[in-house]
Amino acid sequence: MGLNDIASTLLLAVAAFFYLAGTVGLLRFPDVHSRLHALTKADNLGLLFVCLAMALLSGSARVAALLAVVWLLALVASAVSAHLVARRALQFDPQAPAPAEHRAEPPA
């Protein structure tokens, strides 16, 4: 087992920890907003560490660059979809704590 393998195994373990934390948060947190927080924050980090481990294992700059693109796209998608889900949840539940300018927005 080379240094590369050990490093990528460690990275994968860290990724597994973040995914686990995100999933536990999704299941245990009380409302939509905190669940979204758990999912987007923790899973994005999990994906980052998976991508890092894969890049190390592949040992090729091209694959590493592609993995970076994959991670960035997932980041953009999760940020926007979390934003949309949160917005929608706010419209259904105006009691949820939120900044005033958001609450004043009329439902689209």
Partner: protein, 319 residues
């Protein structure tokens, strides 16, 4: 370790399939079905079928999921104040399940049979009775490197033409079933949100790029018109969802032509071969394959977006 992974995939597939069919709430069933598609794509990848994995992820999980969700939304809209329940036809479920299981077992058993004959033979000698071996043996004489594309366009062109016709017929059937009911307005993702605009600015050009790449790669790597069309259609679905594109009742002539362009191009080449004395579906060369695949990609993408938007045509902007 790999056995554990495969067993996990198989178990997950069974559990997800059960959840999708036997779940009490329709929405839950739809979500289960989408996750089932994603896991199935992984399973195809595991058994070395990246073409199928791509198609399953793009069409089976992605676009079918989007279609199911938009149908659900329409269902909730038309029958308000009650969550639609998933009602599996209980009387049919058992016989259908048994038949499917028998089919899977039969296919699996025939697969094992094939493997036995190949290994029992003299190692690398192809078994002439199996179609897959015949295709692999013929590959050297073809300009293509991807056996899947070769089967789709050269060996089984007739089947591919029928698949396209089925897609077109499905769209026409949906149009008929929908009648004059107005298309759903995009209200979940307001067009004015800056984040949505930023996402579209990144994702739509990238989708077009990936779609073209899949089309081009199809000749010697996993990819092709179906996968490329699905990726392009996904960009179209995003544009519809965000209100950049809207469905209109009747399409301009250009869009009607685009809908049938793939089928007509393919059919034209298939019949033209007859005119010059070759067998039906004989393609004159690589350029014809690229031309057909491009036409197929555009038609498939437009058909899928129109199915999603539930309209006769598309127009830019809001009402």
């Amino acid at each position: 370790m790999t056995l554990a992974l495969d067993a996990l995939l198989a178990l997950a597939l069974l559990a997800l399939a059960l959840g999708a069919v036997a779940g009490a709430a329709l929405f839950r069933s739809i979500v289960m079905f989408i996750v089932f598609g994603v896991v199935l794509a992984l399973a195809w990848g595991r058994i070395g079928a990246p073409d199928l994995a791509l198609a399953e992820a793009a069409i089976g999980a992605g676009l079918t999921g989007a279609l199911l969700l938009v149908s659900y939304r329409r269902l909730v809209r038309t029958t308000p104040r009650r969550t639609p329940r998933s009602r599996p036809a209980a009387r049919l479920a058992l016989p259908l399940g048994l038949l499917s299981a028998a089919l899977v077992l039969g296919l699996g058993a025939s697969g094992f049979g094939l493997e036995d004959t190949t290994t029992a033979g003299a190692g690398t000698v192809a078994v002439p009775s199996t179609a897959g071996q015949a295709v692999l043996a013929e590959m050297a004489s073809l300009p293509l490197d991807n056996p899947v594309t070769a089967v789709l366009l050269i060996f089984r062109g007739y089947d591919t033409l029928l698949e396209l016709t089925v897609l077109l017929a499905a769209y026409l059937g949906a149009r008929l079933a929908l009648g004059g009911s107005p298309p759903l307005s995009a209200r979940s993702a307001p067009a004015a949100l800056p984040m949505v605009g930023a996402l579209l600015a990144i994702v739509v050009p990238l989708s077009a790029l990936v779609s073209l790449h899949l089309l081009h790669a199809g000749s010697d790597a996993p990819g092709g018109a179906f996968q490329g069309g699905a990726v392009l259609a996904a960009a179209g679905v995003l544009l519809v969802l965000s209100g950049r594109l809207r469905a209109i009742g009747s399409a301009p002539t250009s869009q009607r032509l685009l809908l049938v362009l793939g089928t007509l191009t393919f059919l034209g080449f298939a019949l033209a071969a007859r005119l010059v004395g070759a067998a039906l579906f004989t393609l004159p060369g690589m350029w014809a394959i690229y031309l057909i695949e491009s036409a197929l990609l555009l038609s498939i993408a437009l058909t899928l977006v129109l199915l999603f938007a539930a309209g006769g045509g598309l127009a830019w902007g809001r009402e």
